[in-house]
C-alpha cells in the first residue's frame, strides 16, 4: 500500500486490532507515518462470511474517512494505536506486559546502580527486558570493556555499517553487532561468524522481512561448514543442537543472531514479530556439519564453495520432526520412512509450491520452499554403501514425498492456486492424484549431523537457504 501511496493513490487497509502496532511500525519504517487503517476486531481468516461482513459493516466509516480525510504526518501516536494495543495478549494466566517502545531509550550509555555489581547487573537485566531488548534469559552486561574485547575479533572498524537489516532498517554497525554478541555470551573469535550471518540475513533472496514479521514460527537455522567450525569447536556430533557444554558455542552463536534480529533488525515480539505461538527454536538454532562422518562432499561444497572455505548457511525453518529408524539398512526403506515426515499438511510449507513462490516484489526475488534434512552418520553410511550420492537421495525423496491433491489442498486457498498455476486446475477433477510436496528435488537440503544412532532431524523450511563465506 505504501507503494501505491508513493504513486499518489490514497489507500486504506483492513487491520486486525492485534496487528495495529505492527502495521503502524511497518508503514513508518517504509516512510509513511499514520497510514490510514480500518481496524477490525479479528483477522478475516477462519471467520464465517457473516462475521466478516459484520466486521466490514462496523468498520466501513473508517474506510471512507481513510480515503477522503487528510493524513496527519505528525509524530504523535494515532488514537487507534494507543487504544488498541495497550498490552500484549499473554493469556489469562500470563503477564500483562505493556509493550515497550524499544526505540525511546536513546542514550548510548546506560548506568545502573546497586549495592554491588551483581545487584546492578540484575537491575540492568530487568531494565533491558522491560525495553524489550532481551530474549528472556540473563544477559551478559555489554560494558565498554566487554565490547572493546569483542571488537578485537574482527579487523573491521566499529562504525562500519555492515548491512542495513530489515524489517526495521537498522544500521548494523560492527559495534552494535559486538554489543549484542557480548549480551549473548559470545567470544571475540565468534565475530566473523556473526558478521557473515548478518550478511546472510540481509541478502535480498533471504526476504527477511517476510520471515521476521510473520505470524508463523520462523527460526533461523545456522549451519556452519569448513575449518572454522572445527577451530571454534562448534558441535556437529552428539546433541549438536544442544543443550549442554558440548554445544555451548552453538548456543551463544544462535542466541546472538536472535538478539541481532531484535535489536538491530527491530524484530520485536508483539510489535513487529507477530508469531502466533512462537517456538523454542527461535532462541538459538546453530549447528556445524559433521564433515568427517559424511560420505559426501560437505554441504557448502555442494553450494559451490571449496573445502577450505568456511561458510554460514541460514535457512529459516518452521517446526521439526525426527527421522528415526533403527530397523532398516537399505536406502529405499529409509527414504520411505523419511517421506512420512514430509507429508504433514498442517505445516505451511508442505506442498505450498502449488500456490506459487515466496516473492519479494521489491527485489524481484522468488524462493522455492526448501526443507532441511540433518541426516545422522549411521543413515548416511547406509546410502553411501549402496552407492547413493546426495543427489540420488534428493531425487528419491522427491519421488517418495507425495500426497493426494485433495489432502494437500485441505488448508490452502484454491484461488491462490488458480492465480499461480491455472494449468494445474485439472487436479480439482482428479483429487486422488499424488502431488510432490516440494517443487523440485533440490528443495530437500541435506547435511550430515549428529552422533551414533539412527536418528536425524527434518526441518520444515520457509523459503530457501542462503550461504555466505566467513571472511573477517
Amino acid at each position: 500500500m505504501v507503494e501505491l501511496e508513493k504513486q499518489g493513490v490514497p489507500t486504506v487497509i483492513f487491520t486486525a486490532q492485534a496487528f495495529v502496532k505492527d502495521a503502524r511500525q511497518s508503514a513508518k519504517t517504509f516512510g509513511i507515518r499514520n497510514l490510514p487503517l480500518a481496524v477490525v476486531p479479528l483477522p478475516f481468516s477462519n471467520q464465517s462470511g457473516e462475521s466478516i461482513r459484520k466486521m466490514v459493516d462496523d468498520g466501513f466509516d473508517q474506510i471512507t474517512a481513510g480515503l477522503t480525510r487528510a493524513v496527519s504526518e505528525s509524530e504523535a501516536e494515532p488514537e487507534e494505536v494507543a487504544a488498541s494495543s495497550e498490552s500484549i495478549d499473554c493469556g489469562p494466566m500470563g503477564c500483562e506486559l505493556t509493550p515497550h517502545d524499544a526505540f525511546q531509550v536513546r542514550e548510548e550509555r546506560l548506568i545502573y546502580d546497586g549495592r554491588d555489581l551483581l545487584e546492578a547487573c540484575a537491575l540492568m537485566n530487568r531494565k533491558f527486558l522491560e525495553y524489550g531488548w532481551g530474549d528472556g534469559f540473563p544477559l551478559v552486561p555489554p560494558t565498554s570493556g566487554n565490547v572493546e574485547a569483542m571488537l578485537q575479533g574482527t579487523r573491521r572498524p566499529p562504525d562500519e555499517v555492515v548491512v542495513v537489516l530489515e524489517p526495521g532498517f537498522g544500521q548494523a554497525t560492527v559495534k552494535k553487532i559486538a554489543i549484542n554478541a557480548v549480551m549473548a555470551g559470545c567470544l571475540p573469535e565468534h565475530m566473523p561468524v556473526l558478521i557473515a550471518a548478518i550478511k546472510c540475513l540481509a541478502k535480498p533472496e533471504m526476504y527477511l522481512r517476510n520471515k521476521a514479521m510473520s505470524t508463523g514460527p520462523h527460526a533461523p537455522l545456522m549451519v556452519i561448514n569448513g575449518p572454522l567450525a572445527r577451530t571454534l569447536k562448534i558441535n556437529s556430533g552428539t546433541c549438536a543442537l544442544g543443550p549442554g557444554a558440548a554445544s555451548a558455542v552453538n548456543t551463544v552463536l544462535g542466541r546472538a543472531l536472535r538478539l541481532i534480529m531484535m535489536n538491530i533488525g527491530h524484530t520485536y515480539p508483539g510489535i513487529s514479530d507477530m508469531d502466533t505461538i512462537g517456538s523454542p527454536t527461535k532462541y538459538s538454532l546453530c549447528v556445524a556439519e559433521n564433515e568427517s562422518r559424511s560420505p559426501w562432499e560437505p554441504y557448502h561444497v555442494s553450494k559451490g564453495y571449496s573445502q577450505e572455505d568456511s561458510t554460514v548457511t541460514i535457512h529459516f525453518v518452521y517446526g521439526l520432526c525426527e527421522l528415526y529408524d533403527f530397523a532398516n539398512s537399505v536406502p529405499e526403506r529409509l527414504v520411505e520412512v523419511y517421506a512420512t515426515a514430509t507429508k504433514n499438511v498442517a505445516q505451511l510449507s508442505t506442498g505450498n509450491w502449488v500456490l506459487g513462490r515466496r516473492s519479494d516484489p521489491r527485489y524481484g526475488t522468488q524462493e522455492m520452499e526448501h526443507n532441511f534434512m540433518l541426516i545422522c552418520p549411521e543413515h548416511a553410511q547406509v546410502f553411501d554403501k549402496a552407492g547413493w550420492s546426495r543427489k540420488d537421495l534428493q531425487e528419491a525423496m522427491y519421488k517418495a514425498a507425495r500426497m493426494p491433491f485433495k489432502t494437500l489442498m485441505l488448508n490452502k486457498e484454491s484461488k491462490a492456486l488458480d492465480a499461480a498455476h491455472p494449468e494445474l486446475r485439472w487436479l480439482y477433477d482428479n483429487p486422488e492424484v499424488l502431488v510432490p510436496v516440494v517443487e523440485v528435488p533440490v528443495c530437500f537440503e541435506i547435511a550430515v549431523v549428529g552422533g551414533n544412532a539412527g536418528r536425524g532431524t527434518y526441518f520444515y523450511g520457509a523459503g530457501g537457504p542462503v550461504t555466505v563465506p566467513i571472511e573477517d
Partner: protein, 97 residues
C-alpha cells in the same frame, strides 16, 4: 554502592519519509481498486466493501486486483502498483493481519 555502565544495543534506523497521497474530498466519479493479497476471507470482506461503496456512493466504479507474485499471499510488484495507479483513484486492501 556499585555502578554498572553498559552500551545501548539498539541500532539506529535508516530514516525514510514519504508524504502520503493527497485525499479527494469525496467519492464522486471515483474508481476504487479493491486489492486482495489472497489470504482467506479477504475476498469476502472486499465483496462487502464493494456493495457498501456502491450503495452509499452511486456512480462509483470498482476494480479487483491481486498481486502478480507470491504464494499463500500475493504481492503487488512496482509494475503492478503502477498499473493499479493508472486506473484507480483510490484503493482499499486486505492483508488479513
Amino acid at each position: 554502592m556499585a555502578q554498572l555502565e553498559v552500551l545501548n544495543p539498539v541500532a539506529e534506523s535508516e530514516e525514510k519519509n514519504i508524504p502520503p497521497a493527497a485525499r479527494p474530498k469525496d467519492f464522486a466519479g471515483k474508481r476504487v481498486g479493491l486489492y486482495w493479497n489472497i489470504k482467506s476471507g479477504g475476498d469476502v470482506a472486499l465483496d462487502r466493501v464493494e456493495e457498501l461503496l456502491k450503495e452509499r456512493f452511486p456512480g462509483i466504479t470498482t476494480s479487483r486486483h491481486i498481486g502478480s507474485v507470491g504464494f499463500m499471499m500475493r504481492h503487488l510488484t512496482p509494475g503492478d502498483a503502477e498499473r493499479v495507479a493508472q486506473i484507480c483513484d483510490m484503493v482499499v486492501g486486505t492483508t488479513n493481519d
